[in-house]
């Protein structure tokens, strides 16, 4: 399972794994893919720096990447306090009422109250880039489209290719015009931010639209070797998987000391129909696990979600409470429709071996059908 892109990165398989967990990211790189660490959760650049030092030391010298969340257009930006003043009173009242109705306990007296994921903010995302480039990232990806031109230029000066997510052909073309090296074509079925066009249609459409000017990674709906084979058959140079790593053994974010977290238990029980595309997580349409929390926001009395970055600031303490509440029926978590296949907790290496084996069998089947 080699493509020009996997050869370029010097990795065994063209499988790019996005994850907020450094333990999962490192395991993906060690297993022959490219682990890409999501940085949006690091409000403190020093924490990210320490984690990337850990990555440097725990990837057996194999390449890894980082994923930032940086709008191409720099938004007007203030401190978290300034932004708070833009949130209408109706919204926090709805959030509080809903959490009470769903039985989510308040935070303990000793908890540090979340101020919102500042990683959505431009200044914080830019500090992520600076911190990352002091390590040895093999890729900088931007989950919100093209990074600003000076960030692309800076990465290129350091010899680091830049990837950007696209949910439609015109976005992909714009990324390439902006100097992006790899377009991540993210279909409707994907977890997190996603557009309306589904992977089967979107992937080959973007491959055809950008030709040889950039490589295409196929994202949205990938969790088996058959889907990797489908992605390459459709013209992609590799796959970008995010959701599927959330139920690996190495994923410990939000976990109690032993056993799966409430989020993982919710994911293990969900079918492919148990997701919803909504603006309630970040302010932009993102696919989330369907739970009592997402259902509350779709009721007639719910307010409309706020624009990015206000919506995430609005719900950040709610996310913290929900996470601490540990109820698998009340979860706030981006995940794709592939969640229907996420039915057991397994080590990353086992997932990777199954992807490779499934790929080989799928190609064998196609050869028999010729």
């Amino acid at each position: 399972m080699q493509t020009d892109l996997s050869k370029k990165f010097g990795i065994e398989y063209p499988i790019f794994g996005f994850t907020p967990s450094e333990h999962v990211a490192a395991a993906i790189s060690r297993a022959g893919g490219l682990g890409v660490l999501g940085c949006v959760r690091f409000n403190d650049p020093e924490e990210l720096d320490a984690v990337l030092t850990w990555m440097d030391e725990n990837t057996d010298g194999k390449p890894y990447g980082v994923d930032i969340v940086m709008p191409a257009k720099v938004p007007t930006e203030g401190t978290a306090v300034d932004l708070d003043s833009l949130i209408p009173a109706e919204h926090p009242a709805f959030v509080d009422r809903t959490l009470t109705e769903l039985g989510v306990p308040p935070l303990g007296d000793d908890a540090e109250h979340a101020t919102g994921v500042l990683g959505w903010l431009h200044s914080v995302a830019r500090s992520h880039v600076d911190v990352a480039l002091a390590h040895r990232p093999a890729l900088i990806a931007n989950a919100l489209g093209s990074p600003p031109k000076d960030v692309i230029d800076l990465a290129h000066e350091k010899g680091v290719p830049v990837a950007a997510l696209a949910g439609a052909v015109e976005h992909a073309k714009r990324h390439v015009e902006n100097g992006v090296d790899i377009v991540i074509a993210q279909g409707y079925e994907a977890g997190g931010h996603t557009g309306e066009v589904a992977s089967m249609v979107l992937w080959p459409e973007i491959v055809d639209a950008i030709g040889d000017s950039a490589a295409v990674l196929a994202a949205g709906g990938v969790g088996s070797g058959r889907q990797v084979a489908a992605a390459l058959a459709l013209g992609a140079s590799g796959v970008w998987m995010g959701s599927y790593w959330l139920t690996t053994s190495e994923y410990k974010l939000g976990s109690a000391a032993n056993g799966p977290s409430s989020i993982q238990r919710a994911l293990l029980g969900a079918s492919s129909s148990d997701t919803v595309r909504s603006r309630i997580y970040s302010g932009k349409p993102a696919r989330l696990l369907k739970t009592k929390w997402t259902e509350a926001w779709s009721k007639p009395d719910a307010p409309s979600p706020l624009p990015m970055p206000l919506q995430n600031i609005l719900v950040s303490e709610a996310h913290q409470r929900i996470s601490a509440g540990n109820d698998p029926e009340v979860v706030a978590m981006p995940v794709g429709q592939i969640v229907g296949r996420m039915n057991e907790i397994r080590p990353v290496a086992e997932v990777m071996a199954e992807l490779v084996d499934g790929y080989d069998k799928a190609v064998e089947k196609l050869n028999q059908a010729r």
Copy 2:
């Protein structure tokens, strides 16, 4: 490009082509696929009988199928006049107002006013089955799920396999329990009636869920040989294509004497983002071309669509007026996201040759990547 299913049907390629046009269906069968004639437009059984006689004579002895629209549960049913009384006055008033606003002319004095597509009604669909079985169909497909048990038994007595559309795993399982031989797994991106789960996730999920108990045809997003290869890689035994034939030269429904119809011109200009999933066509969620007509129904003053079969009865004369109006910006037409690839009018044989060639190239590419 041979699978067990194509061998079973004695066809060259496992490409099943659904179309309301007998000219297209016959051309698909002659080109090595299985043309499946959609019967819902035939209110008069004698007209269907004549068309199937034409199919018998124009398919070079090759197999073809028929597609009916028959709910498994027999709905309470009356004449068209009884059903009219169930339509609230607000709805036809909205339809009339909208058509006027969109500049759609009234029907000419000599036009026969449409009474609604009676093919949606159980009694009419059943007459389609009886008429079809007097010919030599190789397949009876039901676009609304499992046909009633006695219809399945009747088809099996005559040696005719039965196929049914499914948009979710539980529907597929139910079809198999009901005795259906082929499940058509129809992803979110498909035209016409469709569920929420996209093809990349739905196809392998249904393949795994029903195992060897039925064959799976992959539907939703197929319009190139790469997509056929992806479907087989994902475990399907063939593909079911509908939208893609609407821009073939043989498709003449709704056409003026020369050149493409207003519908075809609208399809040729549309991108993959120019569709919408809505209940306004039949009462159940179906993907349609996004035009001024569908946009009108999504405005705040629009009433909620009625349940099946009332909604189609409500809009049938509007569809007739829209079709006669010949304005590519005001069109009422089911089509999938693959419409973004439908950019020229070509003969069915040319489309089929391209599918086969694209399939071979995709498999070749996969072999090189091993």
